[in-house]
Point group: C4
Chain length 358, copies 4
Amino acid sequence: MSEELPLTLTGYAERAAEVLDAGPHGYYAGGAGDEVTLRDNVDAWRRLAIRPRVMVDVAAVDRRTTVLGRERPHPLFVAPTAFHRLATPEGERATARAAAQTRSLYCLSSLATTSVADAAAAAPEGARWFQLYVFRDRAVSDELVAAAVEHGYEAIVLTVDLPVLGVRERDVASGFVIEESTAIPSVRATGHDRGLNMLEVGELIDASLTWPDVERFATQSGLPVIVKGVLTAQDAHLAAEHGAAGVVVSNHGGRQLDTVLAGADALPEVVEAVGERIDVIVDGGIRRGTDVVKALALGARAVCVGRPVLWGLAVGGEAGAAAVLSILLAELDTALALTGVPRAADLGAEHVQRAPWA
Amino acid sequence: MSEELPLTLTGYAERAAEVLDAGPHGYYAGGAGDEVTLRDNVDAWRRLAIRPRVMVDVAAVDRRTTVLGRERPHPLFVAPTAFHRLATPEGERATARAAAQTRSLYCLSSLATTSVADAAAAAPEGARWFQLYVFRDRAVSDELVAAAVEHGYEAIVLTVDLPVLGVRERDVASGFVIEESTAIPSVRATGHDRGLNMLEVGELIDASLTWPDVERFATQSGLPVIVKGVLTAQDAHLAAEHGAAGVVVSNHGGRQLDTVLAGADALPEVVEAVGERIDVIVDGGIRRGTDVVKALALGARAVCVGRPVLWGLAVGGEAGAAAVLSILLAELDTALALTGVPRAADLGAEHVQRAPWA
Amino acid sequence: MSEELPLTLTGYAERAAEVLDAGPHGYYAGGAGDEVTLRDNVDAWRRLAIRPRVMVDVAAVDRRTTVLGRERPHPLFVAPTAFHRLATPEGERATARAAAQTRSLYCLSSLATTSVADAAAAAPEGARWFQLYVFRDRAVSDELVAAAVEHGYEAIVLTVDLPVLGVRERDVASGFVIEESTAIPSVRATGHDRGLNMLEVGELIDASLTWPDVERFATQSGLPVIVKGVLTAQDAHLAAEHGAAGVVVSNHGGRQLDTVLAGADALPEVVEAVGERIDVIVDGGIRRGTDVVKALALGARAVCVGRPVLWGLAVGGEAGAAAVLSILLAELDTALALTGVPRAADLGAEHVQRAPWA
Amino acid sequence: MSEELPLTLTGYAERAAEVLDAGPHGYYAGGAGDEVTLRDNVDAWRRLAIRPRVMVDVAAVDRRTTVLGRERPHPLFVAPTAFHRLATPEGERATARAAAQTRSLYCLSSLATTSVADAAAAAPEGARWFQLYVFRDRAVSDELVAAAVEHGYEAIVLTVDLPVLGVRERDVASGFVIEESTAIPSVRATGHDRGLNMLEVGELIDASLTWPDVERFATQSGLPVIVKGVLTAQDAHLAAEHGAAGVVVSNHGGRQLDTVLAGADALPEVVEAVGERIDVIVDGGIRRGTDVVKALALGARAVCVGRPVLWGLAVGGEAGAAAVLSILLAELDTALALTGVPRAADLGAEHVQRAPWA
């Protein structure tokens, strides 16, 4: 690549829009319906103001967090997103390496274009979780879980907000088809040998999942199960009652049901409901170190970053993804220092308030 | 038509703006005054957020509703709108067929360019209501009601928010005249034999209607009377007291009095006032399956869709109107599944909240 | 004039911007500072929603109001504005005739380019008030008041919000100078015989007025004194205590102190404070019949219209001003009918609410 | 300079953008992160409405204030900003003279391109304070403080919100480097002899400052210490407890931590916490006389103006800076008169309210 990498996340977003073809770009960038929630995912963090403290010694910043009982070097995780080979030839291998290089936990998607084994092998030293879609063909899911167990994935992240696919007009408009469908190990395992559009992919998923499935996957895998896609206190309670080790407060990047709450807005009620019992993670719209500070202040243990990593992959492959994560980590350090809270673990509700401009 | 039909409602709206002449397009698209309410009809649904539940078996979705004691296959009704021959040569015949094809109840307008009898004959199997304007020449209204009774219309929808015509500057600017006035059976019956502008049409309507008229039309027709155009709890109470079988919470598509509340905002107080006694329907700004979910969650039994059907008619006649209704129905299915409420009848206030972005 | 007159107020505003020179147009259109209040004068009415009632006999509409104990045919008054000869050669004579023609009370400005006597003579049958600026040279004010008494003006409207001129950057930018200064009777009476800019005009005004001056002018003239420029309950109380017969809730068209409340927002507290004792009138941002309905519903006895009349004068002289007033009156009739309140005097707080979109 | 000076602050801002090179302009104009707080600094004043009183004798206006026990002719102070030689060849000498000419207190920055001694000598009659950054090399700070004491600076303004530099993308994009670094006395004293970028400048600052340092600087200098960069009641309390003579409610012009509160919004809680004990000053977004009135009404003793003075310097050197301050002072006089509070010291909470448009 002759051009230098961008220096800001905005720069990555703009460059990614240039280098990606219309179909994949629409798939990555788009959301459900009128994209109200898609936009609000970013805006919702901006509706929170930080209450910074001064005259605190911030010469050293400590951004460690503890999730599922393990200490992590920092709270910035790579969200599960699909089809990385659409962004970069190396696909999820590049992502796994970028994550490991920045000591970011990587959550591999069930719709990866790289096998569970290969993604692990690409960066064996990296911490990794596996995101699970439960296929109608349950044997496929079972194989995926077994592979995750075998290859050192530390948790199952069970996505619960895609019983059916959301209304995604960008994909309809672009006629987006995963030409690589046969290269997606999970889809191939379901028996498909041709390109699929996203509605067809959606139809592979089981729409009849219920809470007892959480316990079943935990028992089956012996791994902690994190329920991803919870937006209400009620469901957070149910997740905890059914043995979930954690929840990801998420609206699936604004891609499933439009006009649901952004993670930033749903987070407080979920933390209040289950924050003392299980780990709460949040995703959606994280674009700045200040967003991470706000998420932690509201009680999240970690945040997942999705689209920015895809922009990094599209623009610069592994190096690009690593650069994106590094920019965010540097911003996190600055934000902690300027909030006057050098230890990330000390952030609390007293450090945020509703913004007067919102 | 050589071009394919659009795939989204937005696509229909844009195409309709291209294919319609300025006068009819302004008439269909425009609203009263500064069009504050016109725009807010759409925006008001967006100010509501859905609170979705997860891990509910949504493999099968049931969108039935019960209105006036009868089960309907789904809650999407075709609102009464005028002059369909301005949109498509087949006029209301096309609409009636599109409605029947999608099992949508069709409410024929008093200002139809097709007779009450012909609209019924076009789709005898379809469920139909008749919207009534009370003309100064009461004999005309009486004939319309008698025809509706004779031809199997199941209810009279009495419009009460047009004692005089609203301030519609688009029609003034375009010099819109209904050249087809003599082809409008109701107008022809009043004795007019030339083109009328909308102010002249408005002057045909009786501005002295009062609540006892509800009972009179119910008695006269033997049909249930639904009062359309109620925006306050006070008037909803009066409607119920005067024998109305239901009310349509409506601001006439933003075409009558500007800066009144959108249906979405007036609905809760009307439901609270009379929802236990009579059926509450809402119209205005329904553009998405999620809007329907919100309306039902707030207590509506059904929603009426106006302009989108006109776009469909303008773009593709019967097929276009049917396609628009089908898109909305598919979105409704998706929205029910992703809200975690597979039975539409189970939606309740707990599934919506004021949106933080509003 | 070869072109036809516009059909809407927006049309008048646009045409006026074309026909007026930059200096006068900036003077008429501009406001103080960043023009926050200027814009909000219009927006504030839009933040109020009408709660319309239906099934009321509105075949006949009665828009009468009572102000200072006299019945007026309608509540639309012509606000005092300066320098009408900048808009039309006939100046205030044209305005006086347009007002009389539409039975609108006309409030002549102290900064008229027509004498108190000549304005009265132009439309002797018209109801008229006289707006008073108190000049440093008190003899000038005394002469104006005496002339108003002599020529049948029914009240003195004492402007209290211009002790000094506001910050008006449009006038600074355009270098606006009243070349006609010597043709302004009041200014000429102060001894000036050359063009003045607005700051110089402002310096003619007495900045030391206090409440006892209200009683003094009432006694001196034998006329009721209306205090114009009150925005708080506190000052409304003081006005009533010092013998004012009424107050005009006004921010001087957004031209004096930026970021003060719009009339629509200050009106309720003023009505609550003194509405039972003295008459409350409001001005600022009235552009629609619905705005008048809202003002009356909040307790105003009448509204004053400023800029739209100037647009009318600039575009079509007397006929233009009359047309503007007629458009507003027609809209008022429609708004009363569609609010379901055929008698303007029956409007009350139950007919308005804060708009959900605001 | 052949062109005339602009007549409004907006004019200065626009002209400054034209005459400055991209690097310095970006440095002066830019803020942290997404510049949410940068923009809100201006917007927050606009969210406050003035409640003006009328019929008050405002023929004479008195804008005096008392800060640190001394009467000042007016409450408009020049905020400490860096590198004035980037704006005008005379650098801080021009600013000092412009401040003295308008009787504005001048707060010299630690990052001035003029020595503490020379800035004082340029306008010996002017009131002056010294803004202190505490360098890692504490000897440098000690020398600066000693020079301030020697040269008649009346207070130390200790900046506490820059333990590390904020995320400033404009500087990253422009590659902004202080070529003049060796001409900055404080930086030169740290031993650097080459151009630095802002991150490198930031690294010269001590990130381990804590509250006891306030007392240390007060004792060391014998001068009152004002803590600049406080945004919470908690820190205001701590400042007062640790001997601060005052606080500046400030977010560093939106340049440090994005999405913190604007001064206008943080001011009330700080005034409530410590306003009875120590002096509260505010900066950020002051662009109008009305902004000053609002700040005083909320309890500030004075306001600091930053960027507008830089625009003045860039556009017209000393004369430009003086003109900017004069425009603001004239607006302040007008605003006091039109608020009906001729003595600035009489402004109180009753003169402001939350704006209905916000």
